[in-house]
Amino acid sequence: MPSIIETSQLTRNYGEICALKPLDLKVPEGEWLSVMGHSGSGKSTFMNLVGGLDRPSGGELMVGGENLLALSEDGLARFRREFVGIIFQQHHLVPYLTAVENVMMAQYFHSVPDESEAITALQRVGLGHRLKNRPGELSGGEQQRVCIARAIINSPKLLLGDEPTGNLDHKSTLMVMELLKELRAEVRFTVIMVTHNQEVAAWGDRTIYLDDGVLVREERVGQR
């Protein structure tokens, strides 16, 4: 399986703080990679670099055949728009827009909005009855499902999750993970999920452990 992500000696420094120390990693296409580690271990830094939200301080970073270091700001924006879908722990939904409008906003920044397609996406995540509700009128699990619909609406090749179940109870967590699994089986995107939760990490094909910006261990599902 060809690699969708390839890093070589990838580093990220914030002033004198080295958030990510030289990292060599390959992620094959279609893999579900869980990234674990304690707070400040470099998980989110790694995810931000891979998602084109931040620029590395050194090394090489190829994502989907694109050298992210060589991309201009416009190029990075295009990359994020067309290649990446992101699910945040805090949802980051626009509070005064309805669920369907939140999804359409992602379409707008990608190309053109299409309401029927946005509705289909929300129906796909089980929110067909909550289309016109604003985020404040939805539960945490429902808000996260709107986020998932928003993240997948532009058919990304890479889905990034930054502790997507961090705010959810056990039942909602299971529902969200089940949904992601189903969608992945359907669309075959690559998932990189940052989490603290061992149980959530176990949904992936492989888990890597970061500690103080260093990759210290990795496990395949079968090894655990």
Partner: protein, 444 residues
Amino acid sequence: MTSMAVRLMPHLLAWGAMLLLLARGCAGRRGTVAAAAGAGFIGGIVAAPAAARLLGTDASFDTAKIVLGAAFLVYCAVAVAALYGSGRSSAANWGERLTCSAPVAAAGAFFTGVAGGAVCGFRSLSGSVTTVCAAAAAGLLLLPLMLLVERRLPAAFVVSPASLVSGITSLLLFTSSSLLRLDLFSPLTMKVMKFSHDFVHQFFESMLIPDHLFFTARLWGFVGVLFSNAVGFWGALVVWLAPALLVICAVALEPLPAVAHLREGARRRKTIAAAIRAKRQRLAVPLLALAVFSCAVYQSKFPAVEYWDPKPIQVSASPAGEIFIPKKGEVDLEDGKLHKFLFKKGGTEARFFIVMTPAGGLTVVLDACSICKPDGYGQTEGTVICYYCKTLIPLDTVGRPGGCNPVPLPCALKADGVHIDGVTLVNRWVDTVQATARVGGEGK
């Protein structure tokens, strides 16, 4: 020389913009188009003064005006065709086939060059041979420069065939509108006004609008609008801008690509978004053309022309009542400029001017015509202009009676100067001013 260079600058800039559009619009034929346009420019800039010398300035300006008018009509036809074809998939193909065909592209570029060069030639009529040569050299120098600039333009700057015609025509009419005698908008205004007046008149004549009690004063007020000066301006503006608006509509109405066969929603939307973006980019040139057409209207309405308008020199009559103005006195009557004089008798102040016609003879006329308020005349570019109605009177016809021509004055032209009878002058002035005293308003 410097002032002529400044005067030629806008024409050369417009010529540069035309080259840019030609190079981008006929991208596959840059070399052919550049060569044809360059040859045309040289031909035009040389032909204009030559034609003025051979045919006379009037005939040469009239011919140029006819050519520009024909170009505008062709543009109208292209705009209608573009709108007609905008809903069809093969719509753009005929235009693209034409712009890609070497003979058509070359002919179009040659015509553009001739027209652009001729306008520069007419502008530099009063200049020396050196000025014409310098203008020709500058025009040629712009060729490689604009080809280089064109290569640096973003790929998104797309010029469709209809947009190309739109841009070129707008620039041609803009550049020509700065020459009073090549301006098309003013005559168009007059034509529209005349059409409106004749139309309403014929309507009444055929009793289609009876003089009925139901026709209240308020309603007559609306009918009266059709006779106002504003009808000419606004009507002409509609005709002037209509083709550019049609081309804009044609681009805006182009259908989006069929995407039903694409399974992935994001790809479908992306295809549509790309088509919408391309359509917006194609709108840039027609929108710019609309702006240039509007600038041409402004230039026509408020021409930046410096009129030669000398202060009248007061003259007096001999005891026998004769006014004598020497050829080489306070002013040189044969210097080609209009010279104004003022004669006071009783309570009457009569103005007249003397000018040398292109034929070489001196002509003496009143500083007033028999139809307008006596606002007087100024001189510019081989013509005199009536300040009241802004009509241009070629110098060849000054001295002939009729229309807005200044009223001729009998005089005796002798070797030493001009002899005018004071009483005749005053009587003719009074008759003329009395006849035109009813005229109101501020002219057209």
